[in-house]
């Protein structure tokens, strides 16, 4: 698809600003999100290409603004719901619970 992910040749996205160094995971959640790819791939049922396509279908503004592993989270969400491992209702409820400090 001709989505926001297909970036080759685009102008206006700003400087690269490579830092002198950075940790592999900048925050703990990035490591968990990274590890969940292997953790979910083994049971969920998605293919790597399907996972990539779910990222491509993200809201374009969110795609550009979100940290990298947030792309993976969107794809996990889509695939886990699609394959019936979780429902969007139980995920929403769990997000609310965590956001309110309940867990």
């Amino acid at each position: 698809m001709n989505g926001i992910h297909d970036l080759g040749g685009m102008h206006g996205l700003g400087p690269i600003n490579p830092p002198a160094s950075e940790p592999v995971f900048r925050e703990p959640w990035e490591g968990r999100a990274f590890a969940m790819f292997a953790g979910t791939f083994v049971f969920c049922g998605y293919t790597v290409d399907e996972f990539r396509h779910e990222i491509e279908k993200m809201d374009p503004a969110h795609y550009l603004e979100a940290p990298y592993y947030a792309h993976w989270l969107e794809a996990f969400k889509a695939c886990l719901i699609k394959y019936g491992h979780i429902t969007s209702d139980e995920l929403d409820a769990r997000i609310k619970l965590i956001a309110s400090g309940g867990q």
């Binding site: 698809m1 001709n2 297909d6 080759g8 040749g9 292997a38 953790g39 083994v42 049971f43 293919t47 790597v48 290409d49 399907e50 990539r52 396509h53 491509e56």
Partner: protein
């Protein structure tokens, strides 16, 4: 299956190749001059938009791989050759760029035609 700590080393050191042991004839040979198809699928593709309609040369045949277009949507397998295809920077970006510079992209049989 459940990913457990004891199998993590095997998972990371083995991975999962997309290479397919299928006897599929290549549509192109090294040195062939190709034209990239001007296609705009709304489904998954690994063909970047900036290469569509451009002229390149087959530089290397990587062998046979699963076709991501089909793999993404659980369509019947269509394994095919994937090639390193070389383009001049000027073919892609016009006369203002350095005449020596080139770009190589990995493209599948179905992405191209002979020219």
């Amino acid at each position: 299956m459940l990913l457990t700590p004891d199998i993590v080393p095997a998972v990371t050191s083995t991975g999962a190749t997309a290479r397919v042991a299928a006897n599929v004839a290549p549509r192109f040979r090294v040195g062939d001059q190709i034209l990239v198809n001007n296609i705009h699928p709304t489904t998954h593709t690994r063909l970047p938009a900036y290469l569509r309609g451009k002229r390149g040369v087959i530089e290397r045949d990587h062998g046979v791989f699963a076709y991501p277009e089909h793999h993404a949507h659980h369509l019947p397998e269509k394994p095919q050759h994937c090639y390193a295809v070389r383009f001049t920077a000027r073919e892609l970006w016009g006369s203002a760029v350095n005449s020596r510079d080139t770009l190589v992209a990995d493209l599948f049989d179905d992405y191209m035609e002979l020219r």
